[in-house]
């Protein structure tokens, strides 16, 4: 019986060697591009930009046959560790998702000048937030005001034409934290709504949080009590509480970043920030050898921002106006502001 055991072992070894040999010959000499994606503490299931970054990565994986890997950061302590791990392993491109990683990208990209880095919503900065302008860092930025303006047009037109739930003439926005990516959304929103309906009142509140829906929900309820009937959330996972609060009060809500149609029936539209397009573009740049340092801005003009219609069919006249504003922003005839109008 020992013999048969040995025979199997021999067979196994032979098979293994054969497979190993095949493996050696079948790989092509062209180098496979390796891309590592590091999420921020929001994690892949945030239904927002971490999720979209992963969507872009998966698409690139199919299109360019790259080797892709993802790490979710569980705490902020891990940003440097996760970025460094990919850099030391010889990855060609390391993508950090979110402005929370700015300083970590600045540090690690400085240490690994031969690795490409890309960061969504930020740049590689020092401890004081100054852009280090490193030659190996691509900043993937968005004109959030473009997307905010589109949903602002919808909200303003609904109020103006009397198609809102109660026609109170009051709409609102809930921001996570008052930082540029959030405020630009709100700036475009308020600007466009006021443009369509000059008499409109726009309430703005901040939850100082991006993760806890309860905090955003309580701010949303206060705004609803102040007669707001279209609520735009710009607060990531926290903002899901806004959508639910709007649903309970039978008023409208607007989603952010990704299409949040399924988050709540009250979601009439979503302001889209196409992080998937940005991620895909950065990977494409590395694959094609066209990687450029500095800012790469995604807007309506290059289809990197936009809007989605969700659980409400817009009346034809409103849709016409939305299309016309979209075309004007695309052509540059209209430029939404980056600062929230007074």
């Amino acid at each position: 019986m020992r013999h048969s055991y040995l025979r199997f072992l021999g067979l196994g070894v032979a098979t293994f060697l054969l497979l190993a040999a095949c493996g050696g010959t079948s790989t092509t000499p062209t180098k496979v591009v390796r891309v590592g994606l590091v999420t921020d503490v929001g994690g892949l299931n945030d239904k927002s930009f971490n999720h979209l970054a992963d969507v872009g990565l998966e698409k690139a994986k199919t299109d360019f046959k790259i080797q892709a890997s993802v790490v979710e950061s569980k705490t902020g302590d891990e940003y440097i560790v996760n970025l460094t791990n990919y850099a030391t392993q010889g990855y060609d491109l390391v993508i950090g998702v979110g402005f929370l990683m700015q300083q970590a990208i600045g540090t690690v990209a400085g240490q690994f000048p031969n690795v490409h880095f890309a960061i969504i919503d930020g740049a590689g900065t020092d401890a004081k937030g100054n852009d280090l302008k490193l030659p190996n860092v691509e900043s993937l930025l968005f004109k959030e005001q473009d997307a905010g303006a589109m949903v602002g047009v919808i909200a303003g037109m609904l109020e103006k034409s009397g198609k809102a739930p109660k026609n109170t003439g009051v709409i609102s926005a809930i921001g996570g934290v008052s930082i540029p990516p959030v405020d630009k959304y709100i700036a475009g929103y308020k600007w466009a709504a006021t443009m369509e309906d000059p008499g409109i009142k726009v309430l703005i509140g901040y939850s100082n949080d991006f993760t806890d829906p309860a905090k955003c929900s309580s701010i949303a309820k206060a705004q609803i009590a102040a007669k707001s009937e279209i609520l735009f959330q710009v607060a990531g996972g926290c903002g899901l509480g806004v959508l639910q609060a709007a649903g309970q009060a039978h008023v409208y809500s607007i989603g952010v970043d990704a299409d949040q149609k399924d988050a709540d029936p009250s979601v009439i539209a979503s302001a889209l920030k196409k992080v998937d397009v940005a991620t895909y573009t950065a990977i494409q740049d590395v694959v094609n050898g066209t990687f450029k340092s500095g800012a790469l801005t995604f807007s309506i003009a290059n289809d990197g921002a936009g809007y989605a219609l969700d659980n409400l069919t817009l009346p034809a006249d409103i849709q016409t106006e939305v299309d016309s504003v979209l075309a004007k922003i695309k052509s540059g005839a209209l430029t939404p502001p980056t600062d929230i109008p007074k």
Binding site: G36, V41, S69, V70, V71, E72, K74, T75, G76, D77, E78, Y79, I80, V81, N82, T84, N85, Y86, T88, Q89, G90, F99, L100, Q102, Q103, Q111, F112, A127, K128, G129, V177, S178, I179, P180, N208, D209
Partner: protein
């Protein structure tokens, strides 16, 4: 009752020398918990269709730099682990010390955060001071802040009997929101819109152990290795803890109050004073951890402190370490390695980093659910081979001060 340990009946494996049997008995519970957690964790990985061996290989690679397959640099992985271990040791002590006094300090996180806040505030405001002055100032500032934070809970417990679990948990929230307030639109926020504070002065920063430049060490620029001199502070903190507990009269009072407040009172110990002093000292350890984290790693207060969990992990570290200084260091190494290893486990084996948190929770669960009562009953007797049912002796592995038990038991 006055039988000395030597005359007690031997249990277990009588052929083994005493020290080994003793060590085996002490280690059985924590090791059992860890093995249990890894076994169940492996089942969970297997059940979700992944390879548990690949997962643990990634975990070990990320934690200790061994068995790496993805081209990781072992020295870097070890350095990352140690960076995580440093605050865990100090915060672990901050949980273990009150535990000895019969107090559950769930507030290590809050004390850690106020320590970080104090260190940042002082380090920014007095950034011009030279290092020999500023560095002690920020570290002591962190300790004082942590001590005051925990002291609130201590005073409330000692005076009006407010349960320290409730008060310390609530103080955690206060500290977490204080951090948010300070760097999100508050006085510490750096102008420019992002939720970070200004960096502390260079004199307030703890040096890294390796040179902080681009000279290559193990093929990487040496600034990649973030391991810093806070390591020595952490080890010193563990040593101070052991000394305080076993070689000072305060340590005796703490342990006496932890075993029986009545007996301690009878022996002339002021339990109220002991509770307050214990919490003050514990808070100082945790505040020091926060200060060291700012001075050694981050150099400014950032939004990553919103998601910090050092003080909560410290509870597990203190429990797993059975409240002994050496145990805390070992448990901190395990939790630091789990934290660091989670990254590699995800990137190499493609397994969710949440599994690491599952493992930590399982370790805590197996200690808390099955063994907590055992630990609690045996804590005073670990090291003495005394059958259950006999009156507990006070001395333990570190200091067999047999005279202690007389105070309470023999009027």
């Amino acid at each position: 009752m006055a039988a000395s340990p030597a005359t007690l009946p031997r249990r277990g494996a009588p052929w083994l020398p005493d020290p080994i049997r003793r060590a085996g008995r002490v280690l059985a519970i924590p090791l059992g918990s860890v093995v249990f957690a890894f076994f169940v964790g492996g089942l969970i990985v297997a059940a979700s269709g992944d390879n548990p061996f690949a997962a643990y290989q990634g975990l070990v690679c990320g934690g200790f730099g061994t068995f790496c397959t993805g081209g990781q640099i072992p020295a870097l992985q070890i350095s990352n682990t140690i960076v995580y271990v440093i605050p865990l040791i100090m915060a672990g002590v901050a949980v273990a010390l009150p535990f000895r006094a019969g107090l559950f300090n769930i507030g290590a996180e809050g004390q850690f955060l106020v320590g970080a806040i104090a260190c940042t505030t002082i380090g920014v405001k007095f950034s011009g001071l030279p290092a020999p002055l500023l560095l002690p100032l920020v570290l002591v500032g962190g300790m004082v802040a942590g001590a005051l934070w925990a002291g609130v809970a201590g005073v409330l417990k000692a005076t009006i009997g407010a349960h320290e679990v409730v008060t310390t948990i609530m103080l955690n929230y206060v500290a977490q929101w204080l951090v948010r307030f300070l760097i999100v639109g508050g006085p510490l926020q750096l102008p420019g819109g992002f939720s970070v504070s200004s960096p502390i002065g260079s004199g307030a920063q703890l040096a890294t152990i390796l040179p902080h430049d681009n000279q290559l060490i193990f093929g990487l620029p040496s600034s990649v290795y973030r391991i810093h001199t806070g390591l020595f502070i952490a080890l010193a903190a563990a040593a101070v803890y052991a000394f305080l507990l076993w070689r000072t009269s305060l340590g005796y009072e703490i342990r006496a109050a932890g075993q029986s407040q009545r007996a301690a009172r009878y022996a002339g110990v002021s339990v109220r004073r002991t509770i307050i002093v214990t919490m003050l000292i514990a808070g100082a350890f945790s505040g020091l951890a926060g200060a060291v984290q700012i001075a050694g790693v981050d150099h400014n207060l950032t939004d990553k402190y919103f998601s910090d969990s050092t003080g909560f992990d410290a509870i597990a570290v203190a429990l797993l370490g059975l409240g002994s200084a050496v145990g805390i260091v070992l448990a901190a190494i395990l939790f630091g390695a789990l934290h660091a290893g989670g990254s590699v486990m995800q990137s190499d084996a493609g397994i969710s980093g949440s599994l690491v948190q599952v493992l930590q929770a399982l370790i805590l669960f197996s200690i808390a659910a099955n063994f907590l009562s055992t630990i609690w009953l045996r804590l005073p007797r670990i090291g003495h081979q005394q059958p259950a049912g006999q009156a507990p002796a006070m001395g333990t592995e570190g200091a067999p001060e047999t005279g202690e038990k007389g105070g309470a038991g023999e009027p």
